[in-house]
Symmetry: C2
Subunit: 294 residues, 2 copies
C-alpha cells in the first residue's frame, strides 16, 4: 500500500507531506536511514491523542471520586478541598497555574492505599460508562482518528510508539490498547509511588518524581526506552522539552471550534518554539479530514 | 524443534523439567493458557544472568573511575572515600550491610553532571577492554550460557523478557543486546535521577528512588510493564519480593566452586523462601552442563 493511503483521514498538504517525507527518509536505505530498533516515537496524550477539553478526562475521573468520597463521609462534604472541588472542579483546575502536579497529587490521594489491581478495576469501571460532557461520545471514542492512523502507520514502518502523558500512567494503561493499539507497557506517564507488601503492590498518596510533564518528559522517555525519540508529537507547553530532544517534532494546533475546541492557552511557548524551530504544526481544522470516528 | 532441544546446556533433571512443564502449561491452549501479551519474564542480572563474584562488574567499573579521579586530582588521592576505595574497594563493598544503595550512590557521584550519551561512551569503553579478574574472560562473556538459552527459549514461546537488576540500568543497557539479546528498553534497573537542560539529558548525583532491589523490584516491574511477572528468576535475598509476585519462580543456587563460585551469603532468606514456597532451585553444579561459553 502507498504510504499516503495509510493516512486516509489526513488532508493533503504541508503537514501530511512533511510526515511522509520524514518517515521515508529514515526508513528507506540511504544517508538518513535509521535502524528499526532506534525508531522510537513518543506521543503526548491529552490534546495530542485525545480531547482534553473542557477538562482532562482524568479530572472527570478524579472529581467523581472526590464527590463519592464526600458523599460517603458527611464530615468530608463540608471540608476542603472536597466541597469546592466537588462543586466546581473544572474552574478550580483551570485556575491553577501549574495544574498537572496538583491533579496528580489529587489522584494519588483519592486512591491511596489500594492495590494496583483494584485501581485498574476502578479505571475500567469509569471507562465502561463515562461519556464526554459536550461531544456526546464515550471517552473511549474521544481519540483523534488521524492520530490513530499515524500511530498505525509508524508501527507499519517499524517504529515503536509510546504514549508519554503528563497524566496518570496507570489511568491510561487499561484502555491504551483498545483506544490506540498501544500495549500497556508502552504507556509512560505520571504516577503515584508504589509500595510492595504482602506479595502485592499498593498505591501510596505520593506522586512519583519527576512528574511526566515539561522537563520530566525527556527524562521519563530516557528512563523507559534508553533513547531520545526519533519522532514526537505534542500540543502544549509541557511538551516542549520532549519536542526539543527529537528529530521530527509535531505540534497539534487546536484551531477547530466547530469539530473540537479552539484554544492556544497553555500552548503559547510551544507555538512560538514550533515556528522558530520549524516543527510541523498540524492544524486540526485544515489537516484533519475527520477528527473522531463517525 | 522439541522444547527440550532448546535448552541444550541444561542437564536433564527436576529443574529443567519444571521449567519446560510450566512454559508448556501457559503456552498450550487449555485451562492455564496465558495470552502472549501477558507473558512477562523478569531476570535479575548479577548472579542470575552473569557472574557477580568476586565483585559486581559494576563495582569494577566504579572503582576504576574512582582511582582515575584520585589520580587526576592529587588532593583527592588522600581524601576519603577515594583513598580507601581505590586501595581496597572490594573489601569495602563486602563489608557494607546494604551495599547496593551505596554502590548506586557511588556510581551516581562518580559520573555526576555528564550527559547520558557521554556516560554510555564510558560504559562502552569499559566493556571493550575490561576482563573478569579470576575467570580470564571478557566481562561480555561472563553471562551464563544456560540462562541465555532460557531467555531465547522464552522469547521463542512469545514471552517478553526483561532484565531487572539492582545494579545500574544505564550500565547494562549498552551491552544487554550483545550479551543477552535483550534490547535496551527492556532493561530495568537502579539509576541516577536525570536532569533535562540545553536540549539534552544529564545525570545527577542522586539515586532514583526506589532502588531496583528488594521491594523496589516488583515496584519497578509494575512501573515499567504494568504487569506482575509470569516467570521470574533471581539468586539473592534482594530478589525475594520479585519472586513472591510471580507465578513461576527460579532461584539460581551458586554451588559450583570449580566452574564459578560457591556461596550462600546474601541468599539465606531466598533459599529458605524457595524451599517453603516450592520455587525451582537451579543448582549450577548439577543443572548446568556448561556455565560459560567455551
Amino acid at each position: 500500500m502507498n504510504d499516503k493511503d495509510l493516512l486516509p483521514s489526513w488532508s493533503d498538504g504541508a503537514s501530511k507531506t512533511a510526515i511522509l517525507e520524514f518517515v521515508t527518509s529514515v526508513t528507506v536505505p540511504g544517508a538518513s536511514f535509521v535502524p528499526p530498533a532506534e525508531r522510537v516515537a513518543t506521543f503526548d496524550n491529552d490534546g495530542t491523542l485525545w480531547c482534553e477539553k473542557p477538562q482532562y478526562v482524568q479530572a472527570d475521573f478524579v472529581f467523581r471520586r472526590w464527590r463519592a468520597m464526600a458523599e460517603a463521609d458527611p464530615a468530608k462534604a463540608s471540608e476542603q478541598p472536597y466541597k469546592a472541588l466537588a462543586e466546581n472542579g473544572r474552574a478550580w483546575l483551570a485556575s491553577l497555574p501549574g495544574h498537572v502536579p496538583d491533579l496528580v497529587k489529587g489522584l494519588s490521594e483519592a486512591y491511596e492505599g489500594i492495590t494496583v489491581g483494584a485501581f485498574e478495576q476502578a479505571v475500567r469501571q469509569f471507562f465502561a460508562t463515562a461519556t464526554h460532557p459536550t461531544l456526546g461520545l464515550a471517552y473511549t471514542k474521544a481519540g483523534y482518528r488521524p492520530m490513530r492512523e499515524l500511530l498505525a502507520f509508524l508501527e507499519a514502518r517499524d517504529f515503536t510508539a509510546y504514549i508519554c502523558s503528563g497524566g496518570g500512567r496507570d489511568f491510561i494503561r487499561p484502555v491504551s490498547e483498545q483506544i490506540y493499539g498501544i500495549p500497556r507497557e508502552r504507556v509512560i506517564g505520571s504516577a503515584t509511588t508504589l509500595e510492595y507488601r504482602d506479595d502485592d503492590i499498593y498505591r501510596t498518596k505520593d506522586a512519583e518524581q519527576p512528574i511526566d510533564d515539561g522537563a520530566g518528559k525527556p527524562e521519563h522517555i530516557w528512563m523507559r526506552t534508553g533513547r531520545k525519540p526519533l519522532l514526537a508529537a505534542g500540543n502544549a507547553d509541557g511538551d516542549v522539552p520532549m519536542l526539543k530532544t527529537t528529530r521530527f517534532a509535531i505540534l497539534i494546533h487546536h484551531d477547530d471550534a466547530d469539530r473540537e475546541f479552539a484554544y492556544d492557552t497553555g500552548s503559547e511557548k510551544a507555538l512560538a518554539e514550533a515556528k522558530e524551530r520549524g516543527w510541523t504544526i498540524v492544524s486540526m481544522q485544515n489537516d484533519f479530514k475527520v477528527v473522531f470516528d463517525p
